[in-house]
């Protein structure tokens, strides 16, 4: 129902079919097409379109994806290296860049680990027990997915800002949340809140409670049951959730931009530095940082594809 979770679940579903299309046995009609002589092509097959239409559709799809997805990605790397490799690495070793990288890693570490713990706990409560209002609770957990990033930042400004609910109290006690690490961390935790829980809940619901019941009846304690039985069964799903959570945590821009205050060398994360450098026409430096984030995105996609395979294999075994 929410944006990313929907995306994640539908891609998982999708991968389940990938192995079938790879094998040349039992292939769908459109695949048989390729080995068939041209002359006999379209008439015999009920489930495909005439050749020119097929060509047109594929061309349109590829053109669209190239213009809107491939080119922007290429531009990032082309611009980053437009003044050569040494300029690229010089830009990355600027103190500002290094401190942004450091802050981004710190924020990701904080928000991923907290959401990891929360996600596992929430998934346990939601998937292993029956209670009223379960669907509603899942909707609440999903909520941050449907809130604009800017609003995700705004809510913390309203709580902790100078005019916010706790603003005066915080000032009196000299506690800095906004325009400091805690504020950035809070906003990041908010926007990445659902990832781990949403990756685990469907998986754990599907696995049911039988193995846990078996462990308990064999004398295992609650923690023994979790660490020895539940955790090994959900490890790939957990990794999947952590991966997506991490990608978003490192790349978050809107929410962090609102709460960070853009203090150079102190509260700039990598995406914020990309913006600042770009607005100062330091294109090479800006795209150098951007290229690191783009690499992160690409690696995330590759690992995600591998994990989805793993998850499907797990499902096949459990269906058996």
């Amino acid at each position: 129902m929410s944006l990313q979770s929907n995306l994640a679940s539908s891609t998982t579903q999708l991968r389940a079919y990938a192995p079938k299309t790879d094998l040349n046995v039992a292939s769908p009609p459109s695949q048989r097409e390729r080995v068939r002589p041209h002359t006999a092509a379209s008439k015999r097959d009920l489930r495909t379109e005439p050749r020119p239409i097929r060509f047109l559709i594929v061309a349109l799809a590829l053109l669209f994806l190239t213009v809107f997805v491939v080119l922007p990605l290429v531009v990032v790397f082309a611009s980053a290296f437009s003044r050569g490799i040494s300029a690229y690495f010089a830009a990355l070793s600027e103190p500002e860049a290094l401190s942004a990288i450091q802050l981004t890693l710190l924020i990701a570490a904080i928000s991923v680990s907290l959401n990891l713990i929360f996600g596992v706990i929430a998934a346990w409560a939601i998937s292993k027990f029956d209670f009223a209002g379960k669907t509603f609770l899942i909707t609440l957990i999903d909520l941050p997915f449907s809130v604009s990033p800017v609003i995700s930042g705004l809510v913390f400004v309203l709580l902790f800002g100078a005019q916010g609910f706790f603003g005066t109290w915080l000032q009196a006690h000299n506690i800095h949340i906004l325009f400091a690490v805690p504020g950035i961390a809070l906003a990041t935790i908010f926007v990445t809140f659902p990832f781990v829980a949403r990756a685990l809940i469907p998986l754990m619901q599907e696995q049911g409670t039988q193995e846990e019941e078996a462990a308990i009846s064999l004398g295992a304690s609650g923690l023994q049951t979790f660490f020895r039985v539940t955790l090994p069964n959900i490890k790939w799903g957990l990794l999947y959730g952590v991966l997506l959570c991490n990608a978003r945590a490192m790349g978050e821009f809107g929410a962090v931009s609102v709460v960070s205050g853009h203090i150079r060398g102190q509260t700039n994360t990598m995406p914020l530095l990309v913006e600042i450098l770009y607005n100062e026409y330091q294109f090479v430096a800006s795209f150098a940082i951007a290229s690191l984030l783009a690499m992160l995105a690409l690696i995330t996609l590759v690992v995600k594809t591998i994990l989805e395979r793993r998850l499907d294999e797990g499902q096949i075994v459990s269906d058996d």
């Binding site: 193995e211 295992a220 090994p232």
Partner: protein, 349 residues
Amino acid sequence: MTIEVKNIVKKFGDFAALDTVSLKVGDGELLALLGPSGSGKTTLLRIIAGLDWPEAGEVTIDGEDALGRGASERHVGFVFQHYALFRHMTVFENVAFGLRVQPRAIRKDEKAIRARVKELLDLVQLDWLSDRYPSQLSGGQRQRIALARALAIEPRILLLDEPFGALDAKVRKELRQWLRSLHQEIHVTSIFVTHDQEEALEVANRVVVMDKGRIEQIGTPGEVYDNPATAFVHGFIGESIVLPVDVSDGAVRLGGRPLNVAANGAAPGASKLFVRRHDMQIGPAGSGSLEGAVRHVRSFGPIQRAEVALADSEGKTVIEIDAPRDRELQAGEIISLEPRRYRIFAAHE
């Protein structure tokens, strides 16, 4: 070990899964809980295991209150219907699990654990599978591993939920005999749940017949088959002919015509006459209290099964009877029928 269940009530919302159920299981018994789905048999088993809790009632194991303890403290071996083997562990580790999670003070050392697991795998005759994963086993093998795993903790009692439910017919028969001989060997008080009457009668030494959250009858296989206590038991176990009769003044009438059967103290009013298929005595036309036309005969093995349209009801009531093959029946023949053994239950039951 003995088990005693007293006045157990369990509800799921408005639905009474168990309605004041009481039961005593003696030491070393092999007891079957038999009933259709929704009769509450699995719920009762799970309550004894500590996997579910009743709204009211008591469960004692060897005189000790069990409801105050969680499943992990009851020392009850439970074999799940779908086995619930740990899919990420080898067969060996599955069986060893219960030994490895024991508190350090009483936990066996690795060597003793290995020896015990080996012993159990030998017992279920699957020691050669110890390095496999559950997904690599057949259904029957998984079943036996699940049993070995449950036995590893030296349970006081053994509970099996539909132990043969997920297996195909041939494997099921083999495992039935195997389970009975295993029980003779280890002699642990055991309860198993089944919806298959043949399984219950063949394996258990006592059968508890359940329906709609209540116990209908408890008895040996012979008792529940030959002396069903209720209409439900008569209908559920073995194949029965059911005739709508009316009891009044000590006479039993079918469609107004008196039958040559005694009311045996059955209450007056609309009733049902239950007769086993093979308990109908066949005679020449006019010799018995029921008469009918043979419509169709199939002969196999020692019996012939005949479809008979009863004359009293203008051919509307058709019953199936089993007769020995010493007197071949012919389609179209008019015969008379006389119930040899029968039971009468009030119609509303």
